[in-house]
Amino acid sequence: MSVTLFGASPGVAWQPVSARLALARRISAITGALPFVVAAAGLALFVTRWAWFAVAGLAVILLLEVALTGRQVSAISYAELPEEIVIRRGRLFRRLVSIPYGRLQYADMGSGPVERRLGLASVTIHTANPASGGTVPGLPLPEAEALRERLTARGEAQRAGL
């Protein structure tokens, strides 16, 4: 059993996160960018036509973001191994973090307004070093709840064994 940075790994069951996370992220991106687009458009209509460039630029960035979100989300996966949880993300910049259950200090559940509407939540793993934790985003609520409980239980069991 060995994990790999990308793709399938022998003997490891990689769990994808919910595809609805892409929807949630797209909605967040659009609502986040909307005020700026409106402001730039207002500027273009009433002040200077040059501001249309800003509108176009923002639109292109937004479109790219929306288009890439699906691929970003499908690149996120996690695996619960006997001794550690491994989380992978990223296509262009790939990152894999492997956190032993025994190092877990506590696990958090969080959910933004859009995610909550879609019934999604993220589980954040905290260790003694803030840089060494990890987050599994976009899990359906019951699944996130279950993962958090499993993590906490394993954390205590394996730490008690120290």
């Binding site: 910049f93 790939r94 990152r95 956190i99 200090q105 730490r159 064994g161």
Partner: protein, 517 residues
């Protein structure tokens, strides 16, 4: 107590150690002087405005009133700080050190001896004039769990520090058999007694002292100096030729570099490293003499590095991560030795313990390129790291993972397998093209962030896997030997740390309990 300032009064409720007060000058030193001055000024201004005095002559007509109000405010401030001083006290309990303070909102803070990470003595300039020191107790669990005992007469602070270090060591040693119990020999004998409690303080031996000339030369041999050498003439030129447009750019650069340079000088002066009884003690400082004591078993990772400009001089710097000592205001970044000779560095590594001073470490430091014990990075890495790719790599010893790297300078980072928090493997688009990946080894929070860059992706993946296994085995082995007391476990992994974390998010550190009364 023998010291003049610290009074004591017995606590009638429990027959433990008495609560002890701080030195009466404490409120004054805690910024009282400035506070009184500023307040007095503000009040006098207000008085003038309210009673319509001429701003050109602030005292006209209302001089007596202004003085009266000022006196009243002074009296209030003095009275207030006296009350606050009366309300704050500390004591050494059986298993904890307790600090209580606050008049209206009372706070009671405890730190268990077995959670103490380091005990420092600080002597700010003003306190030094009055012969006072503060004792700072660093505990596991972050910023909220440290306590500062300020101020005490210097000698008493020294005794208290020794006593706390002693109790902390005792508590950790006895933890497996009797959790949280202090060895009976130290119980109930009234706390810090001079002469009795100086374990560790008397048996220290000097292993390194930095001469002032080296501090000057070492801080001169930095990029900062090069920056100054360029920017100062430019700034002078700009001022002389009247091109003031350049001043807002150059001015801050010069000031920043000068500030950093002065900070180094003042922090590196009088640097002494001493060792003994399971601790390393570092004293340093030009204006403010600082002492920090690092219990060896709390050391999580070590880095020995050499900035590029020191290569010819064979000077090195040692930095460590210590559990629980986080970089509050840059404190955690304080090196064990900022600039040491090869001999001093080897002596400090030896003092850190046998696990840290291995032939592989010296090999990692000094070998210019690939060397027998190190797994090297592939040739492809030269595209990303043309100058020093040959130095990249790692070595594995029974206890340590040794990461080697550096760009213009050199560095070697040591992490015990049992102290690895988690592992990260990362790869950017260029690295993917070249078949490379980086491995980040997460230690505890601190100045040392071990990483091995540009490994072959297969090697890196295998390393992550194997290191996770080695780390697990090492932790398990440590758990087994724990009962014999050879290696105390870490606070964050200590069994009794669980109870304070179970169920909910751990906002408080495992070491301290803060409750409002």
């Amino acid at each position: 107590m023998t010291s003049s300032g610290a009074t004591q009064h017995a606590d009638p409720v429990d027959g433990l150690d008495p609560w002890r007060r701080f030195h009466p000058l404490t409120p004054l030193l805690r910024g009282g002087v400035v506070f009184v001055g500023v307040l007095g000024y503000l009040v006098s201004q207000q008085v003038n405005r309210i009673f319509g005095a001429d701003p050109e002559d602030p005292t006209r007509g209302h001089w007596g009133l202004a003085a009266g109000v000022l006196a009243l405010v002074l009296l209030l401030v003095i009275g207030g700080s006296a009350v606050a001083w009366r309300a704050s006290s500390f004591r050494l309990g059986r298993t904890t050190i307790e600090l209580r303070h606050g008049v209206i909102a009372k706070q009671h803070r405890q730190v268990r001896y077995d959670r103490i990470q380091a005990v420092d003595i600080r002597r700010p300039l003003l306190a030094r004039i009055f012969g006072l020191s503060s004792v700072r107790v660093e505990a596991a669990g972050g910023a909220g769990s440290n306590i500062e005992l300020a101020f005490l007469p210097a000698a008493r602070a020294e005794d208290l520090r020794a006593e706390l270090v002693h109790r902390a060591a005792g508590a950790v040693r006895s933890e497996p058999s009797a959790p949280g119990e202090v060895p009976t020999g130290d119980l109930g004998d009234g706390g810090a007694q001079p002469g009795h409690a100086v374990q560790g303080a008397g048996s220290l031996s000097l292993i390194a002292a930095i001469p002032a000339a080296r501090v000057w030369l070492a801080s001169a041999m930095s990029f900062n100096t090069a920056l100054l050498a360029v920017t100062v003439p430019l700034l002078l030129g700009a001022l002389l030729t009247g091109t003031f447009g350049a001043v807002p750019v150059l001015g801050p650069m010069v000031l920043g570099a000068l500030g950093q340079q002065f900070g180094r000088l003042s922090s590196w002066m009088n640097f002494r490293v001493e060792t003994g009884a399971g601790v390393i003690r570092v004293r340093h400082g030009l204006t403010e003499l600082r002492t920090s004591t690092i219990p060896l078993h709390r050391v999580q990772a070590v880095e020995v590095s050499q900035p590029a400009l020191w290569r010819g001089l064979q000077w090195w710097r040692i930095r460590v991560n210590v559990a629980g000592v986080h970089s509050e205001a840059g404190e955690g970044d304080q090196p064990l030795i900022p600039v040491g000779t090869r001999e001093e560095v080897l002596a400090i590594l030896a003092a850190l313990g046998p696990r840290w001073s291995l032939p592989e470490v010296i090999e990692g430091l000094e070998a210019p390129g690939p060397s027998p014990n190190f797994v090297s990075v592939p040739r492809a890495a030269r595209w990303l790291d043309p100058l020093s790719w040959q130095r990249g790599g790692y070595a594995v010893t029974p206890e340590l993972l040794i990461c080697r790297g550096g760009w213009l300078g050199r560095s070697v980072q040591l992490v015990p397998h049992a102290r690895v928090q988690s592992l990260t493997l990362e790869q950017g688009p260029l690295e993917r093209r070249l078949g490379l990946a980086n491995v980040l080894v997460h230690s505890s929070v601190g100045a040392v962030t071990p990483a091995i860059r540009h490994l072959d992706v297969q090697v890196a993946t295998a390393l992550i896997d194997q290191e996770a296994q080695r780390s697990r085995i090492a932790r398990a082995a440590e758990g087994d030997t724990h009962g014999t007391g050879s290696e105390p476990v870490l606070p964050e992994s200590a069994p009794d740390a669980i109870s304070s974390h179970a169920g909910g998010p751990a906002i408080e550190g495992p070491g301290s309990v803060i409750r409002m009364e």
